[in-house]
Amino acid sequence: MRSLQGIAGSALERCDGPAGDSAFVPSPFLPTIPSIASQSPLSMITNTVIAGLGGQGVVKASDILADAALAAGFDVKKSELHGMSQRGGSVTSDVRFGDPIHSPVLSPMVPAGEAHVLLVLEPTQVEVARPLLHAGGLLIAPDILEDGALKNRKSLNVAMLGALSTALEIGEAHWQQAIQANLAEKLHAINAQAFAIGRARGPGPGLSQGQR
């Protein structure tokens, strides 16, 4: 994508680095992060959007994804609108991550039509959220889980993250750690199970060039 290539290729200064405003100049020979960026070394930011309805755990799912990406060593930004979300309305949450040195994330919001992956938790929201997805991006819809696949529908958000996890280069240990950090201990077992169920039904590794 044009804009992302531009960022990675320009001499931008980091605003959000630990040392304040230390400048960095990217190497012309950018190392690739494994798999996901291997086909396009210059576009190394992954844009994910999670969509659903208030009460489904969209924000919780994006918290888990963001923590897992951070633990995997990426720079991460996450953004959504709170406030009305608890009243059952449509909710989307954006998570963007990239190499912290060579492609730090700038805007916290995924531009419409530029999501590489769109994870939808509620069937009615698939068409609502579809315009957010990049042409050729990867859509993961809730119909990958057959009825009755989950013991508790409340763990749907984590099951869907399991499916998402197969498409992203974030190790399973980071996912497990993030799930445990974001949920009460009594929920760990059922959510570990839900994650495994989703992971078994995921689309698999490696986003195509179009999905990048």
Partner: protein, 573 residues
């Protein structure tokens, strides 16, 4: 040792900075997107409390800062309207402790009644303003606001927006050795032994005209000095830092004669701009009032086209033009709503064509089991004219209820209802009802009730308090009517019905909205028929808060038992 690397919202970053900087009191009123700041500050061990409204919060904050304590006051953008009376004179005074006022603006109105731009307040009140671009700067600027405020003894506004408050970005906090602890909690003997004493400063703090006239001059002198500091060492960044191919620093000089573009940006818009216009020279300003105009002029001289990327009103671009710096703003359509990368690309390209409409999702609604549902069904069936207010219950305006006719600001339901009653013919006036939530009533409804008693319409009036025993809209915060503090432990409880009786309201009734035998329609009709002033409290806990309220009450009961057992043990001895 690796530096701590945390993924925090801007709100959490402000709370963490307040803790690390030794803030001794945090106070405010809940309001999206600012609410989480004080909740996090409390969870981290800071002293945080909810005030009845933002004006009281700021007044408490001013007193705390007069006493030398570092103080944090938080509110959403419209909250600063309520606190403005205190703000405009607080800037005349000399505060001893750092006083940081967080204004959390909501461009795009994710959860607000307007999208006012509070950068105007900095200029109108003479308050220095800092605007972070992400959570790291939210952390850093909270510290900086305290330090600037103490150096010049002036309150400082930290302006956040929804995408700063609620976006999570990486924060590296100051290492433990560089933090401060509140004096009260300090274990260092030097700190613990410093006893805070009142420092009398009548000309600096008593704003009668004789003292306020010189105080206004002092304020302008402070701002001039802060402006000089901003020019010399203020928080700003230029990207790219230096040219790699042009000794004159004109890095994007184009050999084919294309005008050199330079962008000046603030807040989260600076991040969108970096992404939308990669490689373009960009100046990000952190202390946005008073502005570093000399630095900006120098930046402007290096480019042919100076573009200002700012969310909301054209505040910065008009300041630059007033200073004689030729700057280009955004087309008028971008004043409305949030900016994002796509919109900034359009601004940079000079594209003023219609934008694609965002997808229409499912709108929010009153929860199933919500205690407000029955009330709005009754008001709808009675064909009442409903003066509404701010809270979850504003959703009563949507189908299937469509039972709200006005909503303006916190507390307006009472005054607007009275005004409608005064002006409408009697048969219509008798249908007017004011509907207000419990937290909103404490915030701004009390004075409306005084007005009702003092200037009653000839048809009387009915105020309905929808008491769900929490501040539901913002995420179930406590308030003076719940009888619990911010951390959910017990305190004195304000009784709405006792207040109304004491104020002189003629009919005061309380109903349990969950009562199956209750006919709200009959109760409301009976009160409307009386041509008297009436207050009806419809009480039923928020369906989402109820389980938590039971836990808080259980914990309080256990604490009471333990205390009485301990007292009995003492007596026995």
């Amino acid at each position: 040792m690796n530096q701590e690397r945390l993924l925090l919202t801007g709100d959490d970053a402000v709370a963490l900075a307040a803790l690390h900087a030794g803030v001794e009191l945090g106070t405010g009123y809940p309001g999206t997107p600012s609410t989480e700041i004080l909740e996090t500050f409390d969870r981290l061990g800071g002293r945080a409390q909810w005030a009845p409204n933002e004006k009281v919060a700021l007044e408490v904050g001013i007193g705390s800062a007069f006493a030398g304590a570092r103080t944090l006051v938080t509110m959403k953008h419209v909250g600063l309207n309520v606190a403005a009376d205190a703000l405009f004179t607080a800037t005349y005074t000399d505060v001893d402790g750092g006083l940081v006022i967080v204004s959390a603006d909501d461009p795009g109105m994710a959860s607000s009644q307007n999208e006012q731009d509070n950068r105007h307040f900095a200029r109108a009140a003479g308050a220095p303003m800092l605007e972070p671009v992400d959570s790291q700067q939210a952390y850093d600027y909270t510290w900086l606001a305290l330090e600037l405020g103490e150096r010049w003894r002036i309150p400082v506004i930290l302006r956040l927006t929804t995408r700063i408050c609620h976006a999570k970005t990486v924060v590296c906090p100051r290492p433990p050795g560089q933090r401060r602890v509140p004096r009260a909690a300090s274990s260092r003997p030097d700190d613990a032994q410093i006893e805070r004493r009142f420092r009398r400063d009548i000309p600096g703090r008593v704003m009668i005209p004789a003292f306020a006239k010189p105080a206004h001059h002092r304020l302008r002198e402070k701002l001039a000095a802060i402006s000089d500091w901003n020019e010399a060492e203020g928080p700003m960044t230029v990207h790219p830092a230096a040219s790699t191919n042009d000794p004159n620093g004109r890095s994007d000089a184009d050999p084919d004669g294309t005008p050199r573009l330079g962008i000046i940006a603030t807040g989260v818009a600076a991040m969108h701009a970096h992404e939308a216009a990669p490689g373009v020279r960009q100046l990000n300003i952190g202390l946005t009032y008073p502005l570093p105009l000399t630095r900006i002029r120098a930046f402007a001289a290096e480019v042919d086209r100076l573009l200002v990327i700012e969310e909301g009103d054209p505040v910065l671009v008009e300041d630059l033009r007033a200073a004689g710096i030729p700057a280009e703003g955004k087309p008028e359509r971008f004043r409305f709503g949030e900016l994002d990368v796509a919109r900034v690309r359009r601004i940079v390209a000079g594209d003023d064509t219609a934008e694609p409409a965002p997808a229409k999702g499912k709108p929010p609604e009153l929860c199933q089991g919500c205690s407000h549902r029955g009330v709005f069904e009754a008001l709808r069936d009675l064909d009442c004219i409903v003066a509404g207010d701010i809270g979850c219950y504003t959703l009563g305006v949507l189908p299937p209820f469509s039972a709200m006719d006005t909503c303006v600001c916190m507390g307006a339901s009472v005054g607007v209802g009275l005004g409608l009653r005064h002006a409408l013919p009697d048969d219509e006036a008798r249908r007017v009802v004011s509907v207000i939530g419990d937290s909103t009533f404490v915030h701004s409804g009390l004075t409306g009730l005084a007005e009702m008693v003092y200037n009653p319409p000839k048809t009387g009036h009915l105020v309905l308090i929808l008491d769900n025993e929490t501040t539901a809209m913002t995420g179930q915060q406590e308030h003076p009517g719940t009888g619990r503090l911010l951390n959910h432990t017990p305190t004195a409880r304000m009784s709405f019905e006792a207040v109304a009786r004491a104020m002189g309201v003629q009919n005061v009734e309380v109903v349990d909205a969950a009562d199956k035998h209750l006919s709200l329609k009959e109760r409301i009709s009976a009160l409307l028929a009386r041509d008297e002033t009436s207050l009806l409290v419809a009480r039923q806990p928020c369906v989402l808060a109820a389980p938590k309220i039971r836990l808080y009450e259980k914990a309080a009961a256990e604490a009471r038992t333990q205390t009485s057992t301990a007292c009995a043990a003492v007596t026995d001895q």
